[in-house]
Subunit: 207 residues, 2 copies
């Protein structure tokens, strides 16, 4: 059983560990990982113990072993096939973001309700109409959907994605989605990032 707070830190550790791999660093201390994730070293050791990974006192953790363990744990040892619905400003920024491909998330299908956008291409992928969502998700075996539509369309789009077989949804639209129990929805609200930043900027003392 891995706590949610630990899960949300694993990608932060992974990002740094991948940088260490590029710099041919073989071992890393819990202190060094702690500073990149904004927690204390004891918490890092606790987090990594959930993966059955114990460093050697005085030596640290083996970088390559940790990268493999975290990637397995996050399900990144496989390719994830992703659909994006809503190719406005946000959707286009997400399609072009290289950070997704580097983590084996491959954007395979694009959907929009605007007839003027349907049939055009971004990064080699043709935008289809929303009536194609269910069939395309099924045919191309897509497992994750990203919703970047206005709030009013989000529920309808979610239902079409789920009908086609998607089991994970990243929702940017300011709307609460109702989906079956087997589907996981993660809501992104970038104002939360600003609120956390404001906390630190306003000088409140923290751990």
């Amino acid at each position: 059983h891995i706590p949610e707070a630990t899960v949300s830190r694993l990608p932060l550790y992974l990002r740094s560990l991948l940088e260490f791999t590029e710099q041919r660093v073989a071992t890393v201390s819990s202190e060094r990982l702690a500073s990149v994730a904004g927690v204390n070293a004891a918490k890092v050791r606790k987090d990594l113990s959930y993966l059955g990974s114990y460093g050697t006192r005085g030596v640290g953790y083996d970088v390559e072993y940790l990268v493999r363990r975290i990637q397995e744990q996050l399900g990144l040892d496989q390719d994830w096939r992703v659909a994006i619905a809503g190719l406005g400003n946000l959707g286009r920024a997400l399609v072009n973001y290289r950070g997704f491909g580097e983590r084996r998330f491959s954007v395979e299908a694009l959907f929009d309700a605007d007839a003027a956008k349907v049939g055009t291409e971004i990064n080699g992928v043709v935008i289809q109409g929303t009536e194609d969502i269910e069939r395309t998700v099924r045919e191309r075996d897509l497992s994750i959907g990203i919703i970047a539509t206005p709030a009013g369309s989000a529920q309808d789009v979610a239902e079409r994605l789920v009908e086609g077989g998607v089991t994970g949804i990243l929702n940017f639209a300011p709307a609460v989605l109702t989906v079956p129990d087997h589907v996981r929805v993660r809501k992104v609200d970038l104002s939360i990032e600003l609120q956390i930043l404001a906390f630190y900027v306003s000088g409140t003392v923290t751990e």
Copy 2:
């Protein structure tokens, strides 16, 4: 001393508490708040104890009091004046996002290096050239900068924002920024959201 993991959950509690306020709900249990933040109820009680806020056993927490306490803690009892640099796909999506204004983050200035964009307007704000960043940040007393430029320009833009007086930076560009100690930088990487979603979709059992 409030731990970072607690800080990052406060905006999640706040979002739900504001919804309860709209629904005229007077009190809320730690269990109810726990389910919105994806942690257990004991952790909610621990988080809220850092704010000096203790619920009454069997009754729960006073919603209005909690909203005020969390807003004070997050520095949301004041207005935050924000600049955005880089008005491409991502920057435009951020300017238009109503979620910022609802939390008292007001986008006051826009900057881009593309001569064709300078002088045009988004949401009533005129895009200025990057040479204006320092003067405008100082004159309008902006405290937060959001960087949505390509990686290669991020450091230069950060330096101009800091020169003008910004003390918090939300960085979307895939580049590590070097800033003075008094400036807080928060990096956003949306692929981290996908990695966390992938963890839950791949069915790994969690707490």
